[in-house]
């Protein structure tokens, strides 16, 4: 990016430091807008997909009226939500109430930034990408509590307390599982982690296949991630049949839509992390060795990355429409009695594996044995 900036600045005839600053801001704005546009489009389509998947599972059709195959349903929904009356309860804590949805949405959107979509496409190539995402998604629990408390509604308060308890608890197995994967590439940079998983036909060097501990860590991560994004069977903070709508009970119109979009954004982010850390990111399976133009490679890589993410999202939807909900104490039990100890065991196991075998995965070992 620095190179790009100097190239643009070099062609202009103004004081360097000012132009440099303006161009940097401009590039940030443009790339931010692109990501925002793509993520909004994705969120719209994801709600459509969710409804279609649900319809398929529940022996019904799902949206099919607006646009071809009902594809524009999300536009209609968006317009409807925009035109709805924006109700702020009289006794609400107005600042908290108004701020909460924006924070939730901003945070979920901000987590798109360090993701590496292909070899050359990323908004920011952060060297602490994983840490950044974990840190920034923790803010969600605060924003949810703000909204829940600010609503001045007892059901919202229940939902908020449940959400905070759940998200804070499940962050532990998530971080531990991610650590078990991170110690192999020894980097928190999303791109480095993916590059580390290259080779082996683009499949066998995925971290999930690296050793038994990372394999287990992937499942621990995925279960905890479903809890992190509040989806069935862990949708306790917004358990409709118990506490009405949980923390967003009092929200209407666009404010509600922000919570809603944030949920789908979070789904993408947790799936993208799983893809990046465990499932080889954008590496092309089988055809990675074939020489092809750079743009084609990038396009294919983006496609592969999104395919993997969407498979995981589909899995989440499938689980959601199949399983009943856990009770709040059972949820905590699952986290503290099962997932957290397993995740600790994974971390230790993976560390020992790295120490003894110098980070060689099962594939490398087998390949070596065959070669010799």
């Amino acid at each position: 990016m620095t190179e790009l900036i100097s190239r643009i600045v070099g062609g202009l005839n103004t004081p360097v430091f000012l132009t440099r600053f303006l161009v940097t801001v401009l590039i940030m704005l443009v790339s931010g807008a692109i990501v925002l546009g793509i993520s909004l489009l994705y969120e719209g389509l994801a709600t459509y997909a969710e409804r279609k998947v649900a319809g398929d599972i529940q022996a019904r059709i799902g949206p099919n009226r607006v646009g071809p195959y009902g594809l524009l349903q999300f536009v209609a929904d968006g317009v409807k939500l925009l035109l709805k009356e924006d109700i702020i309860p009289f006794y609400a804590d107005k600042w908290l109430f108004i701020l909460a949805p924006y924070i939730v949405f901003t945070v979920s959107f901000a987590a798109f930034v360090p993701l590496s979509y292909s070899d050359h496409i990323a908004v920011a190539n952060l060297n602490v990408g994983v840490l950044y995402i974990i840190a920034i998604s923790s803010v969600v629990s605060m924003a949810i509590l703000m909204g829940a408390w600010g609503s001045n509604n007892k059901w919202s308060l229940f939902g908020g307390m449940r959400a905070v308890a759940q998200i804070v608890s499940y962050e532990i197995p998530i971080v531990l599982s991610l650590l078990a994967a991170i110690i192999l590439p020894a980097s928190m940079n999303m791109r480095d982690i993916i590059v580390y998983q290259g080779g082996g036909l683009g499949i066998f060097r995925w971290l999930v296949f690296n050793n038994p501990f990372t394999f287990l860590a992937f499942f621990v991560y995925f279960i905890a991630a479903i809890a992190e994004v509040n989806r069935t069977p862990f949708d306790i903070p917004e358990a409709e049949s118990e506490i009405v709508a949980g923390y967003h009970t009092e929200y209407t119109g666009m404010r509600f839509a922000f919570f809603f979009m944030a949920e789908y954004g979070d789904m993408f982010v947790v799936s993208a992390i799983a893809t990046t850390l465990f499932l080889g990111g954008w590496h092309l399976p089988f055809i990675g060795g074939i020489s092809m133009p750079l743009w084609l490679r990038d396009v294919l890589q983006v496609a592969v990355f999104f395919m993997k993410v969407f498979v995981l999202i589909y899995l989440m939807m499938w689980i959601r429409w199949t399983l009943p909900r856990l009770r709040v104490d059972q949820l905590m039990e699952l986290c503290w009695k099962y997932l957290t100890p397993i995740a600790f065991f994974n971390l230790i196991g993976a560390s020992v594996w790295v120490l003894l075998l110098h980070g060689r995965g099962i594939y490398d070992i087998i390949a070596r044995i065959i070669v010799h």
Binding site: A59, K154, M161, A239, S241, W321, L323, P324, D329, Q330
Partner: protein, 372 residues
């Protein structure tokens, strides 16, 4: 209204709440997630049906019985018709009796399907609800063929039924009966034996045999507590004594006898038994009159009767006093859900909010017959 205790949070669950099955209002006082107690407040659906009965003639009240337990209108019609017939001392033709049993049992299945479905959605699994609705649709179609309506049938009249079954009814019913067992198996695989579902319900809200008797709990809820009391067997009416069917009793398959899971499972078993009953009735169906000769104006002799019948939700009783005129002098309705509701405060003490939902759902109460 009890004086609010500062240590506990008072929350109104209902009358508008996703899982209070209508307009039940529970005043819940909680210590966080744990309930101290829950008091039901009823009457939001009061339509003074008992008083209306004193102002209309005997046949004119039949449509009002549809509005008692609207999910089992046929059974309510049946109980009322039997009450007036006992007062009038009318003999019902055999074909009409068999038709009544067929309709009552079909309605029992459709009512239990709703109970199954709404309970599953209370537990956070929405898909089984739609599966239940899908099968109920068949039964609704059968009823529509027979009497033109899909919810409030007004089909079983004093003296028999309003009209004979149409052509093709028997074939379609057999089709449904052949199709249904596979679906019950599907329900069991999807929900009944789901690990999370069992975890949520086993040993929750146990009604002991003595409690069930003390509170006048009837129907599947009573049988789940281990008492094989079913009016179709204990005090046979119509042609039930000629039919071969089992009375399912709670055995504590996954927990204690009389827990929420047992109560839920009773309904699944009863759907199977009702299917058997309908099959036998279809075989017994011979040509004949579908109604007895009943004069247009009914003037029963002065006197009083009490007749009860086994509704999907328990014993529905009609206590009818006649003064010899064309209108009842007094009609008292013994609604099963009313008695079943009365045990909820006892069960709700010290459980969690999510369990309260399980309690309400597993009791399968219906508000219109409680409020009348």
């Amino acid at each position: 209204m009890p004086a609010a205790d500062e240590r506990f949070m008072q929350v109104n669950m209902g009358p508008q709440h996703p899982s209070t099955h209508g307009v039940l209002r529970l005043l819940v006082s909680t210590d966080g997630e744990v309930l101290r107690d829950a008091r039901p407040y009823i009457g939001y659906l009061h339509r003074s049906l008992e008083k209306i009965a004193e102002r209309v003639t005997y046949p004119q009240f039949t449509p009002f019985t549809d509005r008692l337990d609207y999910l089992a209108s046929m059974n309510c019609n049946l109980a009322y018709a039997m009450t007036v017939e006992k007062l009038l001392n009318i003999e019902i033709p055999r074909r009409a009796q068999i038709l009544r049993v067929i309709m009552a049992e079909l309605n029992r299945i459709s009512s239990h399907l709703i109970a199954f479905g709404s309970f599953s959605s209370d537990m956070g699994a929405f898909t089984p609800f739609l599966f239940g609705i899908r099968e109920r649709e068949f039964i609704n179609d059968l009823f529509e063929m027979t009497c033109g309506s899909r919810l409030t049938y007004n089909y079983i009249r004093i003296g028999g039924v309003s009209q004979d079954i149409p052509e093709g009814f028997i074939g379609k019913t057999r089709e449904f009966l052949d199709y249904f067992p596979a679906k019950i198996k599907e329900y069991n695989e999807l929900l009944s034996y789901n690990a999370i579902f069992i975890k949520r319900l086993a040993n929750i809200a146990v009604i002991s045999t003595q409690d069930a008797l003390d509170y006048g709990v009837t129907g599947p809820n009573l049988r789940a507590s281990g008492i094989p009391w079913d009016l179709r067997r204990s005090e046979p009416y119509l042609i039930y004594n000629e039919l071969d069917f089992n009375i399912p009793v709670g055995k504590g398959e996954v927990g204690t006898v009389g827990d929420a899971w047992d109560r839920y499972m009773m309904r699944i078993y009863e759907m199977e038994e009702s299917s058997r009953i309908i099959r036998q009735c279809l075989d017994m169906l011979a040509p004949g009159d579908y109604t007895a000769k009943v004069s247009k104006v009914l003037k029963p002799p002065a006197g009083e009767v009490y007749v009860r019948a086994e509704n999907p939700r328990g014993e529905l009783g009609f206590y009818l006093v006649s003064d010899g005129s064309t209108k009842p002098y007094r009609l008292k309705i013994r609604a099963p859900s009313f008695a079943n509701l009365s045990i909820i405060p006892k069960l709700a003490r010290g459980v969690m909010i999510a369990d309260l939902i399980a309690i309400i759902g597993s009791m399968d109460i219906i508000l219109p017959e409680i409020d009348r």
